[in-house]
């Protein structure tokens, strides 16, 4: 069953369906449960789903500056879902 947000194109196989099969729904669930909390941490710029070290899919937290502070507040994994932290810098509207 698709989320309404993912099934808004008629007759299209959607990226989320292709890239996040059933056994990875857990990743999404963990992400949705904790992302607001993580985004509240100073220096956290984004939370997304992507390929992490080792080639598996996990949660990636983008931080503006030093990773150490954020790492100390966010566990390496939650319920078996790995959480990677990457420095990206701040996101700015590009005008």
């Amino acid at each position: 069953m698709r989320d309404p947000i993912e099934s808004n194109m008629e007759g299209k196989l959607l990226a989320d369906d292709m890239t996040i099969p059933e056994h990875q729904k857990k990743i999404r669930e963990i992400k949705r449960r904790f992302e607001r909390e993580w985004l509240g941490i100073k220096g956290v710029a984004a939370v997304g789903i992507g390929t992490i070290e080792g080639g598996n899919i996990g949660i990636i937290i983008s931080v503006e500056g030093n990773r150490a502070h954020v790492r100390s507040l966010i566990p390496e994994e939650v319920e078996g879902v790995k959480i990677e932290i990457k420095t990206t810098g701040m996101f700015k509207a590009e005008h």
């Binding site: 890239t19 992400k31 420095t87």
Partner: protein, 335 residues
């Protein structure tokens, strides 16, 4: 006796098709022959090639003959040709990929054309922060191509008017809510007085749930816009981008660039200048493929299908609205 331009022009239509398909040939024209690097006064047919290859490595039918009907040929190495149009210039008709903006915005990028019910009537798609000055514009405001930063001015460079935008909801943070904090403190005082255990909290940042940063402009004249993207070509449809999907865009600042989708389902905080932060959900993230001014660029996959609308970036990454969200919110489709 050397041939004249007119004589060569008479035989060129007949032989150019034969020459242009030879190995490495990228252009055929008329010019002065060069001998040992020096220009002579003999007119000839010049074949421009990707790279020069020694005769031994070419089959007879791959080589450019020394002459045609007594008109000499010359082969020069030019490298491949690219359309090198500066996206910061003025374009009429204007394709996607060029400079555009609201009068009070420096400059962003014209994404592509979209339509509503009337398929013959096309609108310009870009970001809210490009066409609608981050919610501060009014419907009907002039839109300039190129944008003001690229010399665009009203009324000479007006291409259209702001037609619609999806408002960006900015986060309420502690710093932006001094008044709210005071109000909360005031209300809580009453709450305590009346014995309520519920307290109003203004200090908890309220994050927004933006899906898109998008707007459309209505061209003053439908003939002033062009349904293609500069240096890319025609959009062939819409598609979803998943992890590892290769993507490309043409933008006002960094031009044609490519990237790969590195993250999906991204929730991100995006800065819109001093003290203005907006949280976006359901975004896609590519590696670095944009700079300031590229906002509003249409993002396409390898098959030239539209997958997103570029709107933000950091030093290492680019953030993109999913095109499905853009189309749903604005109630538009491809022409």
């Amino acid at each position: 006796m050397a041939a004249t331009v007119t004589e060569i022009q008479q035989i060129l239509p007949r032989i150019k098709n034969e020459l242009i398909f030879r190995k490495n040939v990228v252009a055929v024209g008329i010019g002065y022959k060069r001998t040992s690097g020096k220009k002579t006064d003999e007119l000839c047919i010049i074949c421009s090639v990707d790279k020069k290859v020694s005769k031994e490595k070419l089959a007879a039918n791959e080589m450019v003959p020394q002459s045609f009907d007594s008109v000499a040929t010359d082969v020069i190495a030019t490298g491949p040709f690219y359309a090198l149009q500066d996206p910061k210039g003025k374009f009429r008709p204007a394709p996607g990929g060029v400079s555009i903006g609201h009068q009070l915005v420096t400059a962003g990028t014209l994404g592509c054309l979209v339509t509503k019910e009337d398929k013959n009537y096309r609108y310009i798609l870009s970001n809210n922060h490009v066409l609608a000055n981050s919610n501060d514009a009014s419907i009907g405001d002039p839109i300039l191509q190129p944008g003001t930063y690229d010399g665009g001015s009203f009324p000479d460079d007006q291409i259209g008017i702001l037609s619609n935008f999806i408002p960006i909801e900015f986060d309420q943070t502690e710093s932006s809510c001094g008044i709210a904090n005071n109000i909360a403190a005031f209300l809580n005082m009453f709450a305590r007085l009346f014995g309520s255990t519920t307290r109003v909290e203004a200090v908890t940042p309220k994050l927004a749930n933006n899906l898109v940063d998008c707007a459309i402009a209505e061209p003053l004249d439908q003939n002033d816009v062009q349904n293609m993207i500069l240096n890319i070509g025609n959009i062939t449809g819409v598609a979803e981008a998943g992890l590892d999907t290769p993507v490309k865009k043409m933008g006002r600042t960094s031009g044609f660039t490519t990237g790969v989708i590195e993250q999906i389902d991204v929730t991100s905080r995006v800065s819109y200048g001093t003290d203005k932060i907006a949280t976006f959900v359901d975004q896609i993230m590519a590696g670095l493929m944009s700079q300031g001014g590229d906002s509003g660029s249409a993002v396409l996959n390898d098959e030239n299908k539209l997958v997103g609308l570029l709107f933000a970036g950091s030093n290492t990454t680019t953030l993109i609205n999913r095109i499905q969200n853009v189309f749903n919110q604005l109630q538009v489709t491809l022409p």
